[in-house]
């Protein structure tokens, strides 16, 4: 139990002293997760809208598939992405293995089903009268899509928050695809994994607290956003 207490003090020390390895890990984490979230939102919001809004032949089945993808273990995704990005793999030429964009690709695969499923749910839950109102005021199909997404914006925010949380805290993808290379692809979570495997539990706790602090900061700003919209 001592190491938990030790971890607290270490966390403060790391941040105050601007420990370079820690700040490097923070930077790698933010960059990988940031890229992953941008991609998954750009793709996931429209796809989620289409899935939630329209009725089409295999809608139920596709929804089941998307919901199942929510249970993908990160190590599994990491392994699959490694297989894609390895030198002799289909995307080997891209040279993305052991890089931050490579990690972002894997994390985007993790985040995408979350964004799609929660967006679809939010859109489906929107009022029947919204469509009637929008059409009556003269909106075309594209404007209906835009305005519907804006109407369910709080649901979309929830989707983004959930996906971000999942992506910030995963280890399996960062480890397999990033390689945990110090200064380059070592994220906070892979650093925690490393430290605990070395028996440095205090350090593991410290880094975990740093990650929580980052998550807290992100969520405080999102809460501020939620109030204003």
């Amino acid at each position: 139990m001592d190491f938990i207490q030790e971890g607290f003090f270490q966390a403060v020390a790391l941040l105050r002293n601007r420990d370079p390895a820690t700040y490097s890990a923070i930077s790698v984490t933010l960059r990988a997760s940031g890229m992953a979230m941008v991609v998954s939102l750009l793709l996931g919001l429209p796809l989620g809208y289409l899935l939630g809004y329209f009725d089409f032949r295999f809608k139920k089945q596709i929804r089941i598939v998307v919901d199942t993808l929510l249970s993908l273990p990160t190590v599994f995704i990491g392994l699959v992405v490694y297989a894609l990005l390895t030198r002799n793999g289909p995307l080997g030429e891209t040279g993305l293995l052991f890089t931050i964009p490579g990690i972002a690709v894997g994390q985007a695969i993790l985040a995408l089903p979350i964004v799609i499923a929660l967006t679809a749910t939010a859109v489906e839950a929107s009022d029947r009268n919204l469509r009637i109102t929008l059409m009556s005021l003269g909106a075309n199909r594209f404007q209906i899509a835009k305005s519907t997404l804006w109407e369910v914006r709080l649901g979309l925010l929830a989707a983004a928050v959930t996906a971000t949380g999942r992506v910030l805290t995963e280890v399996g993808i960062s480890l397999m695809v990033g390689g945990n290379i110090k200064w380059h692809t070592r994220t906070i979570t892979t650093a925690i994994a490393l430290e605990t495997s070395k028996g440095e539990f205090g350090m593991g706790i410290a880094l975990g607290l740093v990650l929580l602090l980052i998550a807290l900061t992100v969520n405080i700003s999102l809460a501020g956003l939620r109030r204003r919209i």
Partner: protein
């Protein structure tokens, strides 16, 4: 000029048929009422008139042309107000201004919104800034109406606009809608139970039942039970002992529709032999209503549980000296009865 021409449309939701209309014409700048019980298809018909959905079979002509949803001709000219007051999650101002922004018609937004709010009896200074959750049901419905009126639509479709609101809002909504017709000749189609709309405002009224149109009103629709009498005729017995004789229906049809336009009205006692004949019904006048054209009078006659509405020329009413409470006799031919 007819702004709407509907011929032979059938509309289904899945396997269930919800509308079957043979023929409706709606003249431009007229006010048409739509009445019928819940589930009769009023809202569906309004949605089709609003081009929010496409009829499963058949097409609706707008200004003489077959028209589909999202088409250019109707997107900016036909608008529907839903029964439940519904606003988007934004301020009153942004709600009212939405349609204008869609049309990229952004001059003088503030004053136009202000005028639209004035039209529905809401003070722009107070209301424009309010959020969607800071309004009563009646205020919300008025804002929704303002959002449509600001667009100066050629057709205004209203689905029970006064059903879910307070009396003041109901009055202001009616006033604003009429103003729309006055100012720019809007055509109004209003589904409503409100008597002020139906009797004081509408030029004509469409009756809907089970998705079909009943030209002569719903008071002349008679449900069973039907029995075979001693003389071998199918009939219904009313509580007061009177009997309505009907022809044998087709399989599955249970509703008999009388046609008041083919009935003859007379005063009892004129022909004493008529009193107990099988093709005569006795009742009394309950309501006289002068139509807007000034020539025809709607006469409601209560016969047992039925209310039969006949349209008589004004001089016929004077001749018979009809007044509410006066006893009358109606002669009908059972062969004029249709089954449904």
């Amino acid at each position: 000029m007819d702004i709407y021409q509907i011929q032979d449309i059938d509309h289904y939701y899945g396997d269930k048929q919800v509308l079957s209309i043979e023929d409706i014409s709606i003249p431009a700048a007229s006010i048409v009422g739509l009445i019928g019980p819940n589930g009769s298809g009023k809202s569906t018909l309004l949605k089709l008139l609003g081009f929010l959905e496409e009829p499963t079979y058949g097409a609706i002509s707008f200004k003489g042309k077959k028209t589909l949803p999202f088409s250019h001709e109707v997107r900016f000219t036909v608008t529907l107000l839903t029964q439940a007051p519904y606003l988007m999650r934004r301020s009153v101002f942004d709600n009212v201004v939405y349609g204008l922004k869609i049309r990229k018609d952004t001059k003088d937004l503030r004053s136009r919104v202000g005028r639209a709010l004035d039209l529905v009896g809401l003070d722009p200074e107070d209301f424009a800034k309010r959020k969607w959750y800071e309004l009563s049901g009646g205020e919300a419905q008025r804002v929704a109406l303002a959002a449509r009126l600001v667009l100066k639509p050629e057709v205004l479709l209203l689905d029970e606009p006064t059903a879910s609101v307070d009396a003041d809002s109901a009055r202001l909504i009616r006033k604003a809608s009429l103003q729309a017709r006055e100012e720019w000749g809007a055509t109004l189609v209003v589904a409503t139970h409100d008597w002020q709309w139906l009797y004081e405002t509408c030029d004509s009224v469409l009756h809907l039942l089970h998705g079909r149109l009943f030209k002569n009103g719903l008071g002349s629709a008679v449900y069973g039970p039907w029995k075979f009498g001693e003389e071998g005729f199918l009939h219904k017995e009313f509580e007061d002992g009177q009997v309505l004789v009907v022809p044998t229906p087709e399989e599955g049809k249970k509703l008999a529709i009388l046609d008041p336009s083919r009935m003859k009205i007379s005063l009892p006692g004129e022909d004493p032999l008529l009193k107990w004949k099988i093709d005569t019904l006795n009742g009394f006048v309950t309501r006289l209503f002068l139509e807007r054209n000034g020539d025809m009078v709607q006469v409601d006659i209560k016969v047992a549980v039925l209310v039969i509405t006949m349209r008589l020329a004004l001089d016929k009413v004077e001749e018979l000296k009809l007044y509410p409470g006066k006893k009358v006799s109606i002669a009908y031919d059972p062969r004029d009865i249709e089954w449904f």
